[in-house]
Amino acid sequence: MSRTGGGKEVLSTAAVVVGVGVGVAAFAGLGLAGAAFGAGVLSASAFDSFTARRAKPPLQHEGVKRDEQGYIENWPKVLKAVQDGGVAPELRAELWPLLLGVFPHTSTQQERSRELEQLRRLYIKLVLVCRELDDQLQALRNSTSGGSNGSGTSGGNGVAVANGADEAPADSAGLSVRSEAGSASASALQLGTRSPVPLPGNLAAFAEAHRIIVMDAVRTDLRRGMQHPAIGGRASIGPASGTGPTLTILPVAVGDGLPELMMVGPPPRDPTAPSTEAELAEIAADPGAAAEAGQLPRWRSALAHDMLWGAAHLDDPHRCQMLRLVNILSAYAVHDPETGYCQGMSDLAAVFVQLFDDDALAFACFERLMRSARRNFKHDETGIRHQLQQIARVLRDTDPTLYRKLQQLGAEDCMFAYRMVVVMLRRELPPVACCTLWEMQWAHEAAEGEACAAAGGGLGGSSSRASFRQQQTGAVAGGEGGEGVSRTSSDGAASAATATAAAGLRSTVHGLSEATASARAAAALGQRPASSGGRQSGSARLSAAVPDGSSGEDQPPEFVLQFIAAVVRAQRGRIMTDCREHDDVLRLFNSLQIEFWPSVAQARKQHKAYVGLGAVVRG
């Protein structure tokens, strides 16, 4: 028989002779192979194909009713519209913080401004903690290794402290952290522990997180080339990163071999430079004033400097965007030390870096996203596995034949959907579609959260805001409690203080809008892995399957998971006929082209069925 004919080889025939990468193939499928023409052309064509089969228009500016104080009067309608069709690009910067719960939807414009200032203060503190930790690291390293900054290597364990404070230029980051954190141990910057100690656990963890963050930031797609209003609308915001689905493998085989990333459009008009040492010191000295003035730190670690400014292929606007990403992710790693940093998170955060000019707002939105997404990054893998099981559950309930086929192939664990879950289809969908999907997800979450809160008769709008104020003041004044960054007690007062500060910050930010947070927490608790028993036989359909198989203990799978299940079902034909072994399924989903709106329609149908069913079960 022929070498390449027939059967499963169908899946890899594109690779004959030179082996075209799957990423390239996917791009070609969307008419994006001609990337040499520049991002503008590409975005237009992708955008057209994206809008072509849209069922409902996106929510427009006039669809939001505001009173003279900026209070949104028709929030339920807004949520409904976003669930149906997403948000118009030019409205995103306004609505995302509300959808994500960064600001309560019951707030006025003035209240939002006040809270933004509060968020900036918190963000400033987190960045300053990062800087402080990095200074400590440098000091530790210099004291032992003669000053090598060793880009790419994290400091080993067993580094001794000797006079660490001498090395740090007399900056006041730690002092300001101390003063802002209220009564927390006053010796924040007194690094002068003289006895040799091992590199503290929190420092080592931070160093490793920061190392990978920088490495990933430098290779995260942050193009601002496209002026097409696909993501952000406002030209100054520097919207989408291209428009093609962005798999790991960027299409390198275009033009004269320049990677596509290098072919950017015009740089953004107003590149914001990294902060100078003097500026950082100024911010550190008076974070409140800096927050009020909207002056946010763009801290540049030695490593970030080496990697970003040492990369000849980058221009300064890019470096600055990447630096913003580094700052936000590093701040998050301090804020949520349990999660720290995991690859994939840069994909998620990059969207906010592109949409918002204000780093604090970008951080706050990312932090909100992570409240549900962080389970996907849990070290024990229970989170990601549960998500995959939820997809399997939907497939089992809605298409038992397809599910059985996946079982035969040994793919019923849905590992093939792993990347889709972890980066929420950021790599599989063009940015414009990805943003729409996320908005739909947030609107579903928000609507369900509110329905839940209303049913529980618990926290209404105003009371939640009251508790959030309490939280804030409490955390800033007390600086006590919360699980700290540091588990080691031997590493001296300095890191203990930063740890306390970070923990305080964490609980402070987490205190924002308790209503949503508690609703999400409840949802998270409800989502225990379904028992693998109770397989549905033959023609068992949704109606029978859920109460029986999962005994209603689970929440309905969230919208994004329904979407992924719909994407899988859209490949039904190819799975049933082309896939002969496990790897074929992996390959299929590695080079996927998603028809966005049909999958949305299918996801909505599924979602409704589950939610309706949940109501029946509860009632």
């Binding site: 390449t4 027939g6 990978i212 994939g344 590695n590």
Partner: protein, 207 residues
Amino acid sequence: MASRKRTLLKVIILGDSGVGKTSLMNQYVNKKFSSQYKATIGADFLTKEVQVDDRLVTMQIWDTAGQERFQSLGVAFYRGADCCVLVYDVNSSKTFDNLENWRDEFLIQASPSDPDNFPFVVLGNKVDVEGGKARQVSEKKAKQWCGAKGGIPHFDTSAKEDLNVDDAFQTIARNALKNESEEELYIPETVDVNAQAAPRRAQSSCC
């Protein structure tokens, strides 16, 4: 019947994050280098047809994520591998030290039938950096380790400068093929593509 059977080799690339796994794969398959490959999430793959002696084989190269979180999920990708490529960055001893873990983990997860003789190849990448001045792992040290592990072939490579990449993958293909043909003794030469089960891997799709 003359053996014109198409052979599919599955090769897995493992190693710490940032050592250049994706770059090596792309340099080999597409003859392209970019410093802009995104972090791999899960796994990607490319395929390439290779001539090994008188046989034409299709090499399917699986590129995996390097961050240690979620390693155990890797089992889905390791299954049925014919060769495992371990990559480290010669400028970072930590990435070299971790090869031991990567190797052990692979043997546990993939559980090949003959772990002692399963083909590995070790690549020390990024030898181009600073003209070699940044190097932390000497070739001698690496070869010692490879020797102690039963004589694993070792190559100094640079995906950026396309140094030794072809040679390395030629060895990978050859060794994978050795392994593959031993596994395949029971497989008829004519493969019925309409057959229900996977023709090649008797051990696949067990639950």
